[in-house]
Symmetry: C2
Subunit: 611 residues, 2 copies
């Protein structure tokens, strides 16, 4: 490939739109361009990287016994309704009408289309297990697309679907989950990425334990927690916190005192007010944050409203809705969704709520389905400030026993339950008894490994006959790997101040040939090297531009091809070229005799991909 | 690949939805499934065929110096407005709004996105010419999707775009057009298809000569005409008809006679009425069909209405709107579009039109922009029946001179012009003077090679500076190849009563191994052959199902893999297997020693694709 005949529009300046390193470098080095919000075009070098990643994905998936299919991007909406997913995705799903007015969706995930493919054709237990995958664009109407390839609305995605009679045992979902996890591990490893598998949130048809594949890098948008002992790791949305001491017992720190706190609705406001007006060193960890949640009787946004639930966490903590839902379902299994109750929802429910000033003792006079208290908030001997259940007022010296639990009024709330319902924080105890603590890190979510249970296939009417000719449900696994994010993660992890340093396996080309001038004997040598390396199976880019050497070297460093061969007057006489490695492992380069170049490249680069 | 571990849901019966051979066989053999109108999922065998076709496309495009890019499917609508294409495509373009209400389109063609990619980055004539291509789904809201892969709404398409300073000369569009035409020729040739290049209609930004790549097969939906002498060939929409004698002179065949023809609006009605009521052997070729067209002052549907045009053809002929537009533009160059005037349009224009009963002499009293007469209708000495310009009436003995042209009334129509404005028919004279005639054939349109001229890049504000630092427009070529249609065409051309007979280069696998029973020594031999063929670079499918041999052979013939190796008790003792070719060139097969199998396959099959 000649540089002048392809399109590599490198930029001198950092593009204004770039927020993270991968976005900045992929734009500057001419790998991609933005066409709209979250919509990118890939240029020739970008496409080459994508193809190399995709080739690795195919090899590893095929090696693990999966068969490739291709489902449509355009899905008749009726395909998504039986499973309730159109409602679950809501505004994230792109929908459109055809000219006859029939509604369609752009595929955000292929589960339903894959099930339709099987239903009616896979009819016997003997046709299972089955592991299928596809590689295609998926579409998500992101509210605020950002961070380049980490927040796209059209994303090249590998999705795999597995079908089983049972979650475990031979041919069960566990086996496929492990097999795909190993394949994904090999894929990201070959792409030069250090990744970890963490626990993912379950809910809405996804069962535990589901996992995510995370590449740890400061540019990532996902927060994960790792235990400093053992190997527990989880996405913030799923991260459990280890055992914490708690008790509602304990003497009050003083008489319950009502304080007028005009206009102080937030934790920060109240602390500032106490500091300024009352000369009190009140800190957020001495406040109780009391939030009301609307519980619905199904997993989607439109499901009927069922009940109100109170959640209490310490002022410096945040409620984790995944955990809250799990805790609520312990009380009432029919609840499928919880969402923070807005002022409008509360007004519609009852007009008594002093929104923004509610304290736990409000549950004395209102029948909540349950009151969930995080262990750190369930401390009886602590000095607590909380809402006074009256607009513009708080109380201090709140005491759980005295002010809520003892004596229990007859018309009071449902059970008061202590449960882990908050987001983990750096330094929290890790689950287990080994005394480890959780440490926060940022990462890029490259993959998802989800267990779908029997409900999804069930909803689509997909069954098989077992060996006794009885209809039996099908358990599914759903796996996804984001190809564009792998590309971005590779740049986040492999770059320096001069540009990208591609891992050899996914570099756009193997070798860059840079003649100082593309004319006369230098041109002959460059052409000859290009031909010989091409015959040896390497992908070569020849910088044939009529530019000065400086900009050519700069562009070469920016685009990050692993090996650069400089053809200059210096080596010509000795039949040599300057052999330079982009990762600087040969410093500024060394002279290598021309006939040794192919062998040197072979020693460094991975073998060309098999056909 | 083991049959039992993948998904090959062959059907015993022909699916009801199938209209043509390729659709029937690809469904029956388990290569694809319909998910919605014009929307298909590809199963593992189908994906393998697609991949092999795509690999050939990539090889040939790269070999011709093109660089691969990837443009988005989701295009902000603003991208399509400067060129007027959103309006031009009208209802064929899928459009949708994102959650902020911003309109987007699903890519029907990537021209505009490709131009946006270049604009601002390609700024100098030295960066041209450039040849880019992409392979991705394109979307078209077909009114009536049918014929399987010939009428899909989501179609895997290769599109190429070339950019030049000039239409001809070194680096000009002609050169790229030839280069891509040769690449397309090699691609379809390697895919086992006989194709021809025919002239394509121009208009709406597409300039002549543009071409189409047609695979001749009775299942095709395109009509093309070929001259029986010379090499002229064209799509029906573009097909010119050779010179025909014509003259308005000639004596009337009788006095103009008004005939009451109640309710006879069509040519067939009138002929039937004459036959029954008047005992006349009136034939359609003795009638003049007089149609009114609305001419607009721009190429799109919403352009302002400009004038009415009358078109007259013989009763057995049909107006070709592409040719009519070209003829009309000779009279008035500002006309960009003609469309048959509906009754509503005519009423809106003037309330005098006796719709369905208009004869050419209506032009005596109405100022049409022009009256276009096909040479076969422009015969002065012919017996003509035509509309009487009065509802429910026709006239006979119409004579051009007497009844329209002589004397010319002062307030009469625009010029009366004889021009080739009708669709060709089988047996029409071919263009040129060699006495050849046109012959009709059906075919599948696999590719398009269009010249776009400078207007498209111009509309997007894309210019380059020439060597004198002057802004200069960019001429574009746009090329497309339909991957799904290549797959369908291969089946239309290569099948027999038992199923598909894939051309080896695009077969889903190279070799099918069919053990009579997959157990004991037969299993060992089958596994050993699979391993050895795999190591030699061949793709192998092993039919490990616990089925009787009959259904296995039947399924094998249906899916059409070029070579079948039958491992049965017969050959076991002699260390042999039955070597059978799907194209029956070895009859019912012959015994081949196991160690010779790889060499035999090598001799028959194309070399495995290079990496």
């Amino acid at each position: 490939m000649k540089w002048s005949q392809t399109l590599i529009p490198t930029l001198r300046e950092d593009p204004a739109e770039a927020e993270i390193i991968s976005q900045r470098l992929l734009l500057r080095a001419g790998f991609m361009r933005r066409l709209g919000a979250g919509i990118y075009s890939y240029l020739p070098l970008g496409v080459r990287v994508l193809h190399r990643i995709i080739a690795i994905v195919r090899q590893e998936m095929n090696a693990s016994g999966a068969s490739e299919i291709l489902l449509p991007a355009l899905l008749p909406i009726g395909c998504l309704t039986p499973t309730g997913r159109a409602a679950e995705w809501g505004e994230e799903l792109f929908t459109l009408a055809d000219r006859q007015g029939r509604r369609h969706a752009l595929s955000l995930a292929g589960d339903e289309a894959a099930i339709e493919l099987l239903a009616g054709h896979v009819v016997s237990y003997r046709q299972l297990p089955l592991l299928l995958y596809q590689i295609r664009s998926s579409f998500r109407d992101e509210l605020r697309p950002r961070l380049g390839l980490l927040g796209t609305r059209e994303s090249i995605t590998q999705e795999a679907f597995s079908f089983h009679l049972a979650p475990d045992g031979p041919g069960g979902l566990d086996e496929a989950h492990d097999r795909v996890a190993r394949a994904y591990g090999r894929i990201v490893d070959r792409c030069g990425l250090d990744c970890m598998t963490v626990e993912a949130p379950s809910g809405a048809g996804v069962e535990a334990p589901s996992h995510e594949l995370i590449c740890l890098t400061p540019g990532g948008e996902d927060i994960i927690y790792q235990a400093d002992k053992g190997d527990y790791a989880a996405n913030v949305a799923a991260c459990a916190i280890g055992p914490r001491q708690h008790s509602f017992d304990g003497p009050p720190t003083g008489a319950l005192e009502r304080v007028h706190t005009p206009g102080c609705a937030s934790i920060e406001d109240v602390c500032a007010f106490f500091r300024q007006e009352l000369d009190s060193a009140l800190r957020p960890q001495n406040m109780l944050k009391t939030l009301l949640y609307l519980a619905r009787s199904g997993p989607d946004k439109e499901a009927p409203k069922h009940a109100l639930v109170m959640a209490v966490v310490r002022g410096d903590h945040d409620v984790n809705e995944t955990k809250l839902l799990r805790a609520v379902r312990q009380v009432s299994a029919s609840i499928g969704r919880v969402e923070l109750a807005t002022e409008e929802m509360l007004e519609e429910w009852d007009d008594r709520f002093p929104v923004g000033f509610i304290g736990p003792h409000f549950a004395r006079s209102f029948p909540f389905e349950a009151v969930l208290v995080d262990p750190d908030a369930a401390q009886g001997d602590w000095f607590w400030v909380t809402g006074a259940n009256e607009v513009d007022h708080h109380v201090r010296h709140f005491n759980w026993k005295r002010d809520l639990l003892d004596p229990v009024p007859a018309d009071a709330a449902g059970p008061v339950i202590v449960a882990d319902i908050r987001h983990a924080c750096d330094g929290d105890p890790a689950p287990g008894d080994d005394g480890g603590v959780l440490r926060a890190a940022r990462g890029i979510r490259l993959g998802e490994l989800s267990r779908l249970g029997p409900s999804r296939a069930e909803a689509m009417g997909f069954h098989v006959l077992d060996e006794h000719q009885q209809q039996q449900g099908v358990v599914m696994g759903r796996f996804a790997l984001q190809i564009g994010r792998i590309m971005a993660a590779a740049v986040e992890m492999h770059h320096d101040e001069d540009g990208i340093v591609w891992p050899a396996a996914i570099a756009p080309c193997d070798v860059l040939i840079t003649p100082i001038k593309y004319e006369g004997p230098m041109r002959e040598v460059a052409d000859d090297l290009e031909r010989r390396l091409g015959e040896a199976g390497f992908e070569v880019l020849l910088d044939d531009r009529a530019e000065r050497p400086g900009p050519k070297f700069k562009d070469g460093d920016l685009i990050g091809i692993p090996i650069r061969l400089t053809v200059g007057p210096k080596g010509l006489a000795e039949e040599s070229v300057e052999f330079y490695r982009r990762d600087h492992s040969l410093g500024r380069g060394e002279l290598v005799r021309r006939e040794e170049v192919v062998a040197r490249c072979r020693a460094i680069l991975p073998a060309p991909a098999p056909p």
